[in-house]
């Protein structure tokens, strides 16, 4: 319904034309109150102990480790996103260097899944040799411990900022990309312009901020781990 939607138009258009077209094609939809969002009232239960589950073998081994994180509007989200780059965004990141380059895993990474409501910080590794499974799991914990003990270097933070800026610039290069940013910003925060302020916040993240989110959200007892060993070769 219209009260639960946002129409985003980006391109070689003028406001008057957009207004006229929007009224013509969407104006006829009935006005209704904003629907309830039950998720908004849910309180995410906080984990109290680590959970681990081993599932069926797959063609390659997989370790997925997740930690619940707050919603998109929380102030800690920026540090969590920068942390995900430091930990697991391509060559030079902690997980890739320790796992992929060492031959323990064929792929490794980290991502902060940011949502309107509480999200998930995810670390992952894909590996071939079943004998490495324990080492891979331990390494995921070890990298977080290492960052908790010693914050990212200035070079790591510089790289993270550069990646964030490059990614953002690339996304908004097209009309579709820019429209997507506007729409996603609205869905996640209720403010379609929030994304224009996100970059500055991300660039302002410090080592102390990273240490804070690690000690708050990425503690062992908050972890959920799923392991799928590699199958027959």
């Amino acid at each position: 319904m219209p009260s639960n939607a946002l129409l985003v138009v980006v391109g070689d258009v003028d406001k008057a034309t957009v207004d006229k077209s929007a009224k013509a094609y969407f104006g006829g939809l009935a006005k209704t109150p904003v629907p309830e969002h039950p998720a908004a009232k849910q309180v995410e239960p906080q984990p109290t102990k680590a959970r681990r589950k081993q599932i069926d073998s797959g063609q390659v081994g997989l370790v997925l480790r997740g930690y619940p994180i707050p919603e998109a509007t929380h102030k800690d989200i920026y540090a969590l996103q920068v942390l995900s780059i430091v930990l697991g965004s391509g060559p030079g990141s902690r997980l890739v260097d320790t796992l992929s380059k060492a031959g323990l895993a064929r792929q490794a990474g980290a991502t902060a899944i940011v949502r309107e409501h509480p999200g998930l910080f995810l670390l992952y590794a894909a590996f071939d040799n079943g004998a490495n499974g324990d080492k891979v799991e331990k390494s995921l914990f070890d990298q977080i411990k290492a960052l908790a003990a010693k914050p990212p270097t200035a070079a790591e933070l510089r790289k993270a900022r550069a990646l964030i800026l490059a990614d953002f610039s690339s996304r908004i290069e097209s009309a579709e990309g820019l429209a997507g940013q506007v729409g996603m910003s609205w869905v996640l925060t209720g403010d379609p312009t929030q994304f224009t302020r996100d970059i500055a916040q991300l660039e302002a993240v410090t080592g102390a901020d990273i240490a804070h989110v690690i000690s708050t959200y990425l503690t062992p007892e908050r972890s959920i781990t799923v392991v799928s060993p590699p199958g027959k070769r």
Partner: protein, 755 residues
Amino acid sequence: MTRLAKASIVLLALAACGPGAKTSPVIPTLPGDGSANTAAPKAPADNGNKGADDPWAGREGLIDAPPPIIPRALDLPRVDAFTLPNGLKVVAVEMHQTPMVSVQLAVRAGRVDATRDKMGIEQVVARALLAGTSHRTADQLTAVLDPVGAAIHAQSSYENTLISCQARADSWQACLDVIPDVVAHPSFPKDAVDAARLELAQAAAARRKDPSQLAALHFQNLLWGDAHVRGWAASQRTVDSITRKDVVAWHKKYFVPQNAVLAVAGNIDGKRLEARLRRAFRTWRKRGRVPARKTYKVPDRQRLRARVVDWPGMQVAYIRVGNEGLKHTDPDFYKAVVFNEILGGDVGSRLSRRLAQTGGGQAQGSSGFDRNFDVGLYVVSAAAPAADAAATVRAILHEMKALGDAPPSQSELALAVTHAIGQYLLSMETSAELGNAVLAAALHGMKADSLRDYPLALGKVTPEQAKAAAARILDPLAPAMVIVGDAKKIGPQLTAIGISFDTVKHSDPVGGWERAPKPEHSKEAVAKASKILAKALEAKGGAAALRGMKTMILEGDAKGVIRDPKSGTQKFTAHVRRTFVTPDHMRRDIARDVGGQKAVSGIVLAGNQAWAFEQRGNKQGAGELPAELVEALKQQLWRDPGRILLRHLDKGTTAVALPDQKVEGHPCYVVQVRRADGLASTLFFDKKTYLLRRQSYRSEDSSAVETYDDYKTVGGLAVAHHRVTTEGPTQFDMTITNVKFNVNVPASLFEKPKK
């Protein structure tokens, strides 16, 4: 879909959600290379037309669709073109409305240049290109790009190898610091070449395990034949034959500046560009000549030729129907774009509407054609329930014919033109996309004006012209046709509609030249094989003793080696116990020490079911194995080195003698045993003892060899106490310490674990 594919998709989906701070690399593609063939069929547009009943028919008050787009020339920025002193052609587009710069270098070195025995070499080169140069390691190259958030990629296509780099406008110098170095001075470290080969072999194997991709491979082979490069595909065999020396030679031959085009697009200072590029590429010196590109004759069209690729149990039929297409410079090119939209483009195409009425609304299809320098293909890709395969084929052929018989209506044409222009405009927004387009135009010898005027050219196509082009290019009477699916369901349908076809197995090699010649079944060869096997049975202990073996337990110590170019050579030792219960139960327990803890893992085959299990400490797990692994285990059982001596006595199984060979210096008789369904194994018997020395066979996508020695008699049967199995990168060397026949085997060993 494999678990790996599923997991990767999950990971990608998870990573893609949210505003995300990760860099999303833009990997521009070059036109052509059969992408039309390999793309999965698009789902039919949900235009409400389900079957013959149109739920929108007769409704009033519907919104009028916007009028068709009026074609006008693209507002393209100026494209500058110049050539550097070393012969490198450059095309440049200044775009100040974007914060990005895209640098794309295309070298005319692609799949079209590879030889049949080394298919995939262009991909190995592309994959290994960024692994370091004579001046810098891969990490040092990354250290130039990472601090500015720049990304570089290398990939190959049918015609070219593309190295692309994207960065923000204030830091794109990083791209110029890296691209000339990697293209002029790559070091191709051995481990990087090996890793690239492994990745390619895995990708080639994965393509053959995906029915839609397999249909694409067979279609290329059927359409172009075994003598045309388009009919060839990379395989384990071709990848195995590619050496580092080949990679270096390929690079030396093709990676010369006169054989390349560079495109720079984005927020650049056009006035300073040429000077910057001269400096950046100064070490990439002109040398030699531009290598000639081999041309291949387009096969003459004959009659309809069809191939069914049998995949037993597949519920879906993956269909490809098509012909040779046209060149990018064909005068009918724009007409073909338009008629393709009408036939199998996106919204409201004839195929999508027609197929929505076929297969209970479950069939889907689309069409497309290559845009290559030489003649490419035109293909309709579809997927339908297996029971509707023939109906879908008929629908496709009907629509192909209909388009050439009568012109489309003006409104249908206008809709197609609007869609094609819209898609075109959407593909020309970013610096990378625009750079890619000017690069493609330059590679095909087309001026930038053609990009500008593309919408106008489409707008000029008339209904009669679309019809005439379709009649010329589409040939519904003599297409090539491939269907991947269950031949038992599909074959009778095709026969019923008068289509004769060849059948191959989905596990067979794609190319005709890759399929091993069937041994001659001369009477002499069959008789000789029969004599050899009779003596071999006698040497073993006799057929009666072998048949009398109802259970067998083999135990021993094994050493394993797995060679993985990425993770290196992995070695392991284990204690292995194999348990057999005639006729179809087999269990393998492998006990190893893992990090100080005893771990037991293995597989169980019990008739038509199989599962893998693992126990480590107090943790245990088990998982059912998919049908293709069950089949692989049954094949292992068939090849058991004792029982294989009896297989030729099974109904439908043949045995023929092949020329004698030596195995590790020992003269051997050679017999090939082949089951009725084609499963085969080649046996090498020592000429003196008639004991089995070696067995070789194909296992999935690789060749395997087992050798046997140290025979000892146990319970009246000669048993090899030392066996080595080599399969692809894996070797398993087992010394048997204990053999028992006809002992009691608890049924619980073959009970499926509870979930």
